[in-house]
C-alpha cells in the first residue's frame, strides 16, 4: 500500500488550454493508492510548492506525482520539495503533460485522454519506486576550452584569472579565430588587432593557461566533474621547445601555398606563421606544400635553423588531460557561395566574399590595406549584397545577424579608402545592438546608396566586358534594376564549422536544424548543453557579434566555475547494475554504452558496471537479451507496470 499524492499543474493556460486539468485531478483521485489529488495554476510557484509540502505532511504521502512540464524544467524544483519534507527525492514522478500532451494537440478531448493514460501509467510505476541515494564524487578543478577565437580566449582568461588551470585547445597553429582577420570592428570602428592581440598575448603569458595549438580533441571519456579528454597534437615538424621564433626558416623556404589566413588572396611559405602577430609566433610546416615532403629533397629550413628545431620525423602525439568542465567555442565557417551559381563567386574575379574583403582592408593583409581588385585596379562602383544564403529557404533559414552591420562597416571603409560609389542590396537592415542604429545613420550620411531588394543575379556586363552587372528588384519603387559595378561583395551565411558534427559526437551535444550546438534551454540555460559540465559560447551556438560573443564567454566561464569551484559533487543515483545470475556474457552492454561504463570480467564470465561512469541512459538495459541489467529508478518491473497502466487506458 502506498500513499500517493497527485498534483496537476495548469501552467497558466499552457496546459489548461488543451487538458481539462480539474477533470484530470478528479480522475487521479479515483486511482488506487491515490490519497490526495489537486490542481493548481502554477505548481512550481512558492504557493504551489508549499501546497505539496503541506499535503505530504497532512496526508503522510510516501509518493508524489506532479503532472506538469518536462522534468528537464522542474524535476529539481520538486525533488527539493520532497527532500525538505523528509521524503526521498527519488519518490517523485513527473508526468510531462505539457511538451508531451498540451503542446502537441489542439483538441482538448484528446489532450485530456492522453494525460489520463500517462497518469495511469505513472501511478502504476510510482508504487514500485524505491528510495535511492545520490553518489558523491570528487571534482577535478581544471577546465578545458576548445577553440581559441575571441570566445575561447575570453573564457580562458576569465577562468585563469580566478586561479583555475585552463587547457586551451586550438586546431590552427595560432589562436585568434576570425576576429584576428579583421581590420576594424563595428560599430565603434576600433582596430581589431589593437583590442585582440593584447588578449592573445595574455593567453600565452598566463601561468594558468596551457595553450595547445595545432591540437584537436580525439576522445572524450568520463562525465561532469571528471572528464578524461584525449588530445591529438598534430605534427608541426618544428620543435616549439627549441624554436626561438627567429623565422629565418620562413625566409629561405621555397615551398608555396595559398594563405588560409588571407582567404586565399595571398601566398605563404610551406614553413610559416599565419600572420605576424600569430600566437604562438613559432612556425609550422605544411606537409602538403613542403618540397622535402613532396620530393624528398630540400631541408633548407633545417640548414638555416640554428636552434636545430626542425624535425621532419615528428609524428602526431596523443595525451590525456583530466578536467572538471569544458567550454566549447569552435566558432563558424562562412557558407561556400560557389554553390549559389547565380552570384558568380569563383567565376568572376570581381566577386568577393566578406572575409576576403576583411583581408583587403587589413593593413597586414595581401594588399597592405588597399582596396585593389584581383586585376590590380581600384573599383569605381561596389555593390554589397546582403543575406547571401541567409534568410533563404533554399539554403539557410536563419539570419546571420552580423552581416548587415559588417556590410555597413564595409561601406564606411570603402568610402574611406576609395572614391567608389557604394550600393547596398538588402532585404531590410537589422541594426538592433547598442549603438548600431546610430552607426547605420552615420553610414547613410556618408553618401552610401541603399537599394531595398535582394541581389538576384550577378553577370558579366554586356556593354563593358570587364565590369559586372548586378540585377535586383527595388521593392520600394517596384522597378527592376541592373547596376554596372566593378566589385561585388557577398555577405554569406555564417554556418557551423564543417567539423561541428564531430565535436557534437565527442561531447554528446545536440545540434539545431542549421547544425549549431543546442543550448539546454533557449532562454534560461543558453550556455549549458544537454551534456552536463559542457558549456558553449560564441558563434558555435548561433551567429552573433563580438560583444555578444564576449558576454557569452564570460557567462560560460562563470558556469564552468560553478562546477569546478566545488571539490565534491552529487551525481544522479539512477545508474545500472548487472544481475550476474542472468548475464549470458554477450557483452552487448559493453559495446553500446556511450560512456564506457560496463566491462567484462573474464574470471567471472559476466559483465559488470563501473558506476562512476554510468549516466543511467538505459541503452545497455535495452540491448540486454536476458534482462540482466537492472536500471535503478527504471527497473523492468517499474517500466512494465507503467506500460501496462498506459495500455489499459
Amino acid at each position: 500500500m502506498s500513499r500517493i499524492g497527485v498534483f496537476v499543474c495548469h501552467c497558466g493556460l499552457n496546459i489548461a488550454k488543451t487538458v481539462r486539468v480539474s477533470e484530470l485531478a478528479e480522475f487521479a483521485a479515483t486511482l488506487p493508492d491515490v490519497v490526495v489529488a489537486k490542481d493548481y495554476k502554477f505548481m512550481c510557484s512558492t504557493p504551489g510548492q508549499e501546497m505539496i509540502a503541506n499535503d505530504i505532511r497532512e496526508h503522510r504521502l510516501d509518493r508524489v506525482i506532479v503532472t506538469a512540464c518536462s522534468p528537464l524544467m522542474h524535476e529539481q524544483t520538486f525533488r527539493k520539495v520532497l527532500a525538505a519534507s523528509g521524503l526521498n527525492q527519488y519518490l517523485l514522478t513527473i508526468v510531462n503533460i505539457r511538451e508531451q500532451v498540451s503542446w502537441v494537440t489542439h483538441n482538448i478531448d484528446e489532450g485530456t485522454s492522453k494525460a489520463k493514460a500517462l497518469l495511469n501509467g505513472a501511478v502504476n510505476r510510482s508504487r514500485l519506486l524505491m528510495p535511492l541515494t545520490s553518489r558523491v564524487i570528487d571534482v577535478n578543478p581544471d577546465v578545458m576550452v576548445v577553440g581559441a577565437g575571441i570566445a575561447g580566449i575570453q573564457a580562458s582568461l576569465e577562468l585563469a584569472n580566478t586561479g583555475r588551470k585552463v587547457y586551451l585547445v586550438e586546431k590552427n597553429s595560432t589562436i585568434g579565430g576570425h576576429m584576428a582577420q579583421f581590420d576594424k570592428t563595428f560599430p565603434t570602428l576600433d582596430c581589431s588587432a589593437c583590442i585582440l592581440t593584447p588578449k592573445m598575448d595574455s593567453v600565452l603569458q598566463h601561468k594558468n593557461i596551457q595553450l595547445l595549438t595545432s591540437c584537436e580533441v580525439s576522445e572524450v571519456k568520463g562525465f561532469v566533474g571528471n572528464f578524461d579528454i584525449t588530445i591529438r597534437q598534430k605534427a608541426r615538424y618544428v620543435d616549439h621547445d627549441k624554436c626561438n621564433a627567429c623565422l629565418a626558416c620562413t625566409e629561405k623556404c621555397p615551398g608555396k601555398s595559398v594563405s588560409e589566413w588571407d582567404e586565399g588572396l595571398a601566398k605563404r611559405k610551406a614553413i610559416y606563421i599565419p600572420f605576424p602577430q600569430a600566437v604562438p609566433q613559432k612556425p609550422v610546416i605544411d606537409r602538403e606544400a613542403c618540397t622535402f615532403f613532396k620530393k624528398g629533397k630540400c631541408r633548407l629550413c633545417e640548414k638555416v635553423c640554428e636552434q636545430k628545431a626542425i624535425d621532419f620525423e615528428q609524428q602526431d602525439t596523443f595525451s590525456t588531460v583530466k578536467v572538471g568542465a569544458v567550454i566549447v567555442a569552435t566558432g563558424y565557417d562562412l557558407m561556400d557561395t560557389r554553390d549559389l551559381i547565380q552570384y558568380g563567386y569563383g567565376k568572376y574575379p570581381g566577386v568577393y566574399n566578406a572575409l576576403e574583403v576583411e583581408r583587403l582592408f587589413n593593413s597586414a593583409g595581401p594588399t597592405g590595406g588597399k582596396v585593389i581588385l584581383r586585376d590590380g585596379k581600384e573599383p569605381q562602383a561596389i555593390a554589397i549584397l546582403h543575406c547571401i544564403g541567409s534568410r533563404d529557404k533554399n539554403s539557410y533559414e536563419h539570419c546571420s545577424r552580423v552581416c548587415c552591420m559588417y556590410s555597413l562597416k564595409f561601406a564606411h571603409l570603402f568610402k574611406e579608402k576609395t572614391s567608389a560609389d557604394v550600393y547596398h542590396f538588402y532585404i531590410d537592415i537589422r541594426a538592433a545592438g547598442k549603438g548600431y542604429e546610430e552607426f547605420y545613420n552615420r553610414i547613410i550620411e556618408e553618401d552610401v546608396k541603399f537599394i531595398r531588394g535582394k541581389g538576384a543575379r550577378v553577370a558579366k556586363s554586356a556593354d563593358e566586358p570587364d565590369r559586372l552587372m548586378v540585377e535586383a528588384e527595388d521593392t520600394i519603387t517596384g522597378k527592376f534594376i541592373r547596376l554596372p559595378v566593378d566589385m561585388v561583395v557577398l555577405s554569406p551565411a555564417m554556418i557551423p564549422r564543417s567539423n561541428a558534427k564531430d565535436i557534437a559526437r565527442l561531447f554528446n551535444l545536440s545540434t539545431d536544424k542549421q547544425g549549431f550546438f543546442m543550448e539546454r534551454h533557449p532562454k534560461l540555460a543558453p550556455l549549458s548543453t544537454m551534456s552536463e559540465g559542457v558549456f558553449i559560447a560564441g558563434v558555435c551556438q548561433s551567429p552573433k557579434d563580438i560583444p555578444d560573443t564576449v558576454a557569452q564567454a564570460n557567462g560560460a566561464a562563470a558556469e564552468a566555475l560553478t562546477i569546478v569551484v566545488k571539490d565534491k559533487m552529487e551525481l544522479e543515483a539512477t545508474t545500472v547494475m548487472v544481475n550476474p545470475a542472468s548475464c549470458c556474457a554477450c557483452q552487448n552492454c559493453v559495446r553500446v554504452c556511450p560512456y564506457g561504463a560496463p566491462f567484462f570480467k573474464e574470471d567471472k564470465g559476466v559483465s559488470e558496471i563501473n558506476e562512476a561512469l554510468c549516466k543511467g541512459c538505459g541503452l545497455c538495459a535495452s540491448v540486454c537479451p536476458t534482462g540482466a541489467i537492472i536500471a535503478r529508478h527504471f527497473t523492468n518491473d517499474q517500466v512494465l507496470a507503467e506500460m501496462e497502466g498506459l495500455m489499459e487506458f
Partner: protein, 288 residues
C-alpha cells in the same frame, strides 16, 4: 562430387586423432551415430579412443558451433563446420563468446547435405546457400564449385509480396502451431543465453503456455534477438517438430540488416556485431 562423404569422414577422423593425441585440443566437436543412418547426432570426442565414433554422411545437418559455448572459456576445442556453421563460429568470435586462438576449425566444403525429414538437398532456400566454409584452419575436402548457387533471399519473394496484414496473419497462423518445445532455441548457435528471457518469472516477459500471446512474445523477441546475428544455417526450422518456417523471418531480418548496414552476420572476424556497433556512416533509415 569429387570427394565422397566417406572420404570426409576418414579425413575428419585422422585430423581429430592427430589433434587429440598431440594435446592441441581437449575435445573435438563432430557428428556421431544416431539411432539410424538417417539420424546422426552431435558427438564430442574427448580422447583418441572416441575418434572411431565420428560419422559423416549426407544427413549431418547439425550446426556444431552450437556446442562451443557449453565449455568453459579458454577450453581448447576443434569443431567441424560446414559453410553456414563456420559463419556461426565467426559470429561467436565477433561476440567474444569464444576466442579464435582457442579453436581449431575443421572446414568441410560440401554439397548434397539433405534434410532427413524430406530427403531434399539443403540449399539457399532454407540456409545461406554457401557450400564452402568462410573460416577454417584445416580444410577437410577440396572446395566445392559449380553447384547451383542461389541468393539466400530469393525465397522471400512470395513472402514480401504480402502486405502487412497478410504477413501478420501468416505469422500468427504459423506461430499458433508452436508447441513451445524450444527445439529451435536449442539448435541455434546464437541462442546461448542462460536464462533465456522467456524462462524468466520476474518480470515475466511472456506467457509460457503454447497459446497466441506467449508464442508471439517468444518468437518475435527471439527474431529480434537474432537480428544481425542469425547466420542462416536453418537449423531452427529443421529442428522444429511442427515445421514452422522460422527461416523466412530470419532471412527477412537478415536482408533488411544487410541492406541497411552493408554487413551480413558471421562473414568476417574483423566485423563488429552490427546492431550494437555505432559507425558515423551508419544508415539512419531505421529511424524513418
Amino acid at each position: 562430387m569429387a570427394v565422397s562423404f566417406q572420404q570426409i569422414e576418414e579425413k575428419l577422423k585422422t585430423e581429430a586423432r592427430r589433434l587429440l593425441e598431440s594435446g592441441q585440443v581437449s575435445l573435438v566437436l563432430a557428428w556421431g551415430r544416431g539411432f539410424d543412418e538417417k539420424h546422426p547426432m552431435p558427438y564430442v570426442a574427448k580422447g583418441a579412443s572416441d575418434v572411431d565414433g565420428i560419422v559423416f554422411n549426407e544427413f549431418c545437418t547439425h550446426n556444431l558451433a552450437r556446442y562451443l559455448v557449453r565449455y568453459p572459456r579458454g577450453t581448447k576445442m576443434a569443431v567441424a563446420v560446414k559453410a553456414a556453421d563456420s559463419r556461426a563460429v565467426v559470429q561467436l568470435i565477433q561476440e567474444d563468446k569464444v576466442k579464435r586462438h582457442d579453436l581449431v576449425i575443421l572446414g568441410i566444403p560440401v554439397y548434397g547435405i539433405k534434410n532427413p525429414k524430406t530427403g531434399e538437398i539443403i540449399d539457399g532456400k532454407t540456409t545461406c546457400g554457401l557450400y564452402n566454409p568462410v573460416l577454417y584452419d584445416i580444410l577437410i575436402a577440396e572446395e566445392v564449385h559449380g553447384q547451383p548457387v542461389s541468393s539466400p533471399y530469393a525465397v522471400l519473394a512470395e513472402y514480401e509480396a504480402m502486405d502487412q496484414d497478410a504477413r501478420f496473419a501468416f505469422w500468427k497462423k504459423e506461430l499458433d502451431r508452436c508447441i513451445r518445445c524450444y527445439a529451435c532455441r536449442k539448435a541455434c548457435p546464437m541462442c546461448y543465453c542462460d536464462p533465456c528471457f522467456i524462462d524468466q518469472n520476474k518480470p515475466k516477459w511472456g506467457e509460457k503456455s503454447p497459446e497466441t500471446p506467449g508464442n508471439l512474445m517468444y518468437h518475435l523477441t527471439r527474431f529480434h534477438h537474432l537480428a544481425g546475428r542469425c547466420i542462416d544455417c536453418g537449423e531452427c526450422s529443421r529442428a522444429c517438430p511442427v515445421d514452422i518456417p522460422l527461416y523466412l523471418f530470419h532471412k527477412k531480418v537478415a536482408k533488411e540488416c544487410e541492406e541497411m548496414f552493408g554487413q551480413a552476420a558471421g562473414m568476417s572476424i574483423e566485423d563488429k556485431p552490427v546492431l550494437v556497433n555505432f559507425r558515423m556512416e551508419d544508415s539512419d533509415k531505421i529511424l524513418e
